[in-house]
Amino acid sequence: MEILDMSALALGSAIREKQIGVREAAQAYLDAIEAQDGALHCYNTVCRDEALQRADEVQKGIDDGTYTSPLAGVPVGIKDNICTKGVKTTCSSKILSNFVPTYDATVVQKLHAAGLVTLGKLNMDEFAMGSTTETSYTGVTHNPWDLDRVPGGSSGGAAAAVAARLAPVTLGSDTGGSIRQPASFCGVSGLKPTYGAVSRYGLVAYASSLDQIGPLAHDAADCAALFAEIEGKDPMDGTSMENPKFDFAAAAAGSLAGKKIGLPADYFGEGLAPEVRAAVEAAAKTCETLGATVETFPMPIVKYAVPAYYIIACAEACSNLSRYDGIKYGYRSPNAENLMETYVKTRSEGFGMEVKRRIMLGNFVLSSGYYDAYYNKALKAKKLIQQSFFDAFEKYDMLLGPVAPTTALKLGENLSDPLKMYLGDIYTVMINIAGVPSMALPCGFDGAGLPIGMQFIGKPFCEAEILSAAAAFQQATDFHKQSPQQR
C-alpha cells in the first residue's frame, strides 16, 4: 500500500515494523504537499527541513525504544493558531503574520513526546472566525472535492489536508464547529472533545469558554489515537480536568450494540438540505442494524443556539483580541504618529473585516446599557442549553444529527452575508455552549458528489463512547474510504 493511502495507525504500525522509515513517510507527504498544495493552499507554512531532521531523530528514538506510541513517526499537520516554538504561528491574520512563538503549546509538546513529525501549519479563517476559511489573510483553501468550493472552516486547511492526503492526521480547534463543519465539507472525521479534556495552553484564544483542540483524520480510530496523545489535565490550563485514562483500544474497536441514540427533531427542521437529511436518516437506520435503538425527541432550544453563541463568542473575542496592540509582537502600523494612533492603525490595518465585526459586536453586547439585555441573556440561554443536553442524556447515551445544513458551498457564496454564514452553524454551536464532546464523520454524498457529514454528540468526558460509535459505523460503511482522488 502506498504511504499516502495508509491510515495514521497503519502507517505507525508499518514504521514500527520497519517496513517504512520515518524519513520516507515524511518525505512522501512533503513531496505531495509540494506537488499539490499550490492549487489547494492547505498550508500557511511547510516545515520541510525541520520535518526531515526531526524524522531522523524520531527514527533513532523508535529504534532505541524511546518512542512507543502507535503514532510514533507519523507526520502531522497543525492548525496555525496552535503555538509552535520557532515556527511562525499567524492565525491567518496580518496582525500575527510575523509572529514566532517562544514556546510550544501543550498539545505540540505532547505530540513531540509521542514522536510525531510536524509537517507544517495549516490555513484557517482569521483567528478562527468564519466557517469557510475565506477570511484567511493568506488566501482561501480550496475543497479537494471541488476546487470551486470552500473546505468549510475555520479549520479548513486541517480538514482539506487530510482529504487531499497532504497529512494523515491534523490538529484543529473548535469554538463553534470549526473542526466538525470542515470535516463534514471535506469528507473526513473530526473530534471536538469535551471542554477541559485537552489543554488549551498555547492555543491562540478566540472565545476561551468554548475553544477546544481536537484531531482530524481519515477515520475514528485515527482520531482516537491522536486524542489519546493530547488529552489530559495540564497545570498550564486551569480549565483542563483530570479524567480516567482514555481507553484508546476500546474506542477504536467500535461498538453500537445496546446504545440508545436520540435524534433531536429540531436538527431535522426547516433549512436542512433534503439530501443531507436523507443521508443522516439512512445512517440512523444503519446504527439500528448495528444494535442501537434510535428515537426522535424534541429539542426546541436549538432555535436559540446561534444568537446565544454569537453573543458569548464575540464578547469573549473582543476581550481576547484586545492584546493585539502592535507593541509586544506582531504587526505594527508604520503610519502612526503617537501611541493611540499606533493602537488604532495597527488594529485597523492588521485585522480583517470579519474580525473587526466580531470585536464590535462583542463590545456592543458588553457595553453599558446593553450588557443585561444581551450578554446576561445569552448566559441564561447557555444555562437552558446545558439543561437541555443533561435532560437528553437522562434518556439517551448519545445524540445523532447533521453537522451542517448543507454540503460545501461555492467560494464567495456566504462571504458577503455574515448572517447567512452564522446560520450555517446552527447544529454545531450548541455543543460548544454545553461543553459536551462531538464526533463528526462522513455519512454519504450529495448529487454533486460532495461529502455529507453527521455527528455523534456524547456525554461530558465520554469521548470513548462516541468514538466507538463512529468506529462501528465506519466498520459497516465505506463513506470515509472515498477520496477526492478517486472521483
Binding site: G196, N338, K380, K383
Partner: protein
C-alpha cells in the same frame, strides 16, 4: 435594536478600530441584520434562570507558586516591532 452610524463609530472607538466610510456603512447594515436575528433570543423565557458560567464545576484552580520558565527576554523581544535596551519601544507618550 436600531443601529446607526453614531453607534458604529462608538463601537469602533471601544475596539480601537477605525473603519473607512464605505466599511462603516456596510458594517452598520451587517450589524443591523445580525442584531435583528440575535433579538429572537428575547422570545426565550429566562425568568428565574441563573446565568451560566463554566460548563463543569471547576473552582479556584491554582498552581504551585514556583518559577518554571527561564529568562529569555531576548527571544521574546525578537518578536517586538521595536525594542531598545532590553525594553519594548513605543512612540513618545508624553510631550
Amino acid at each position: 435594536m436600531q443601529i446607526d452610524k453614531t453607534l458604529v463609530m462608538y463601537l469602533e472607538k471601544l475596539g480601537r478600530i477605525e473603519l473607512s466610510e464605505e466599511q462603516r456603512a456596510a458594517c452598520e447594515k451587517d450589524l443591523q441584520s445580525i442584531l435583528d436575528y440575535i433579538d429572537t433570543l428575547n422570545e426565550l423565557d429566562t425568568e428565574g434562570v441563573e446565568p451560566a458560567s463554566h460548563s463543569f464545576p471547576v473552582a479556584n484552580v491554582v498552581r504551585e507558586d514556583v518559577v518554571t520558565n527561564t529568562a529569555r527576554a531576548d527571544v521574546i523581544l525578537a518578536n517586538a516591532p521595536d525594542s531598545r535596551e532590553g525594553c519594548f519601544a513605543v512612540p513618545k507618550t508624553v510631550e
